[in-house]
Symmetry: C2
Subunit: 156 residues, 2 copies
Amino acid sequence: MKWWFGSPGKVSGLVLRMGQCLSAAASLALMASASGFSTATSFCKKNIVDSMGLQVLWSFGLACLDIHALRLKKDLHNHIFLSLLVVGDWVTAILSLAAACSSAGVMVLLMKDTDICRSHNLLSCNTFQISIALAFVAWFLLAISSYIMFWLLATI
Amino acid sequence: MKWWFGSPGKVSGLVLRMGQCLSAAASLALMASASGFSTATSFCKKNIVDSMGLQVLWSFGLACLDIHALRLKKDLHNHIFLSLLVVGDWVTAILSLAAACSSAGVMVLLMKDTDICRSHNLLSCNTFQISIALAFVAWFLLAISSYIMFWLLATI
């Protein structure tokens, strides 16, 4: 039984889950509050809101499980639980990356190749950009968790 | 020492690498041959051509290494080589997914939300779509390899 940094039921694991949850929630809140001004931004919005919503639910649920395990000193290292975490983490991570990348692609188009951002309120464009950057941070933190879970499952 | 499906220096590993190489090359060739008609498509083109070019080089190199190992019956399962494969596979896979997703985001915009595709030659739009679909296939095959390499490295 190995107790790696970030493994489930450990303080470092809880910190990682809280980081994922907070960055995804911040990205979601910013995107939801930004005013859409074209079909392009509504596409970005839908993508980011869906995938970050899923990530907030997933990471928050696992953070609660970590707190529960820490309080009762439970051991969460078993094959079935780790397999579930690996599948869930990877699916969520791939969806988050896909949403962040497709939105980033659309934003690059709006910011650089067309005049849409310049002709509209600049503030909204910046909010969109910050939200997408936060989505990348949320994905990166989730990717770290995914690797740790996969490594734990392989070496258990 | 475990000999998994798709591990380096095995026929299944060679088949997987050839599949990655061929699908990435097909995606690259289709994208390069499609005529761009707006800044949006030039963005798609650059993304896909760059990442698929990288993937063709990477997968072709490893396929050659597999052929070499198969002919000389060499064992490629050592820590340093597997670590290199894991890092390379993951970096290439993430770049491929990012390029495919950002291009897909832009294409959804062109196809559904605007009239750009309808007002131009439809053939080009279809070529772009097939190329992006092949990029997703190439990413999926590379992701399988990445998981196998990571698992081998963890259990070696």
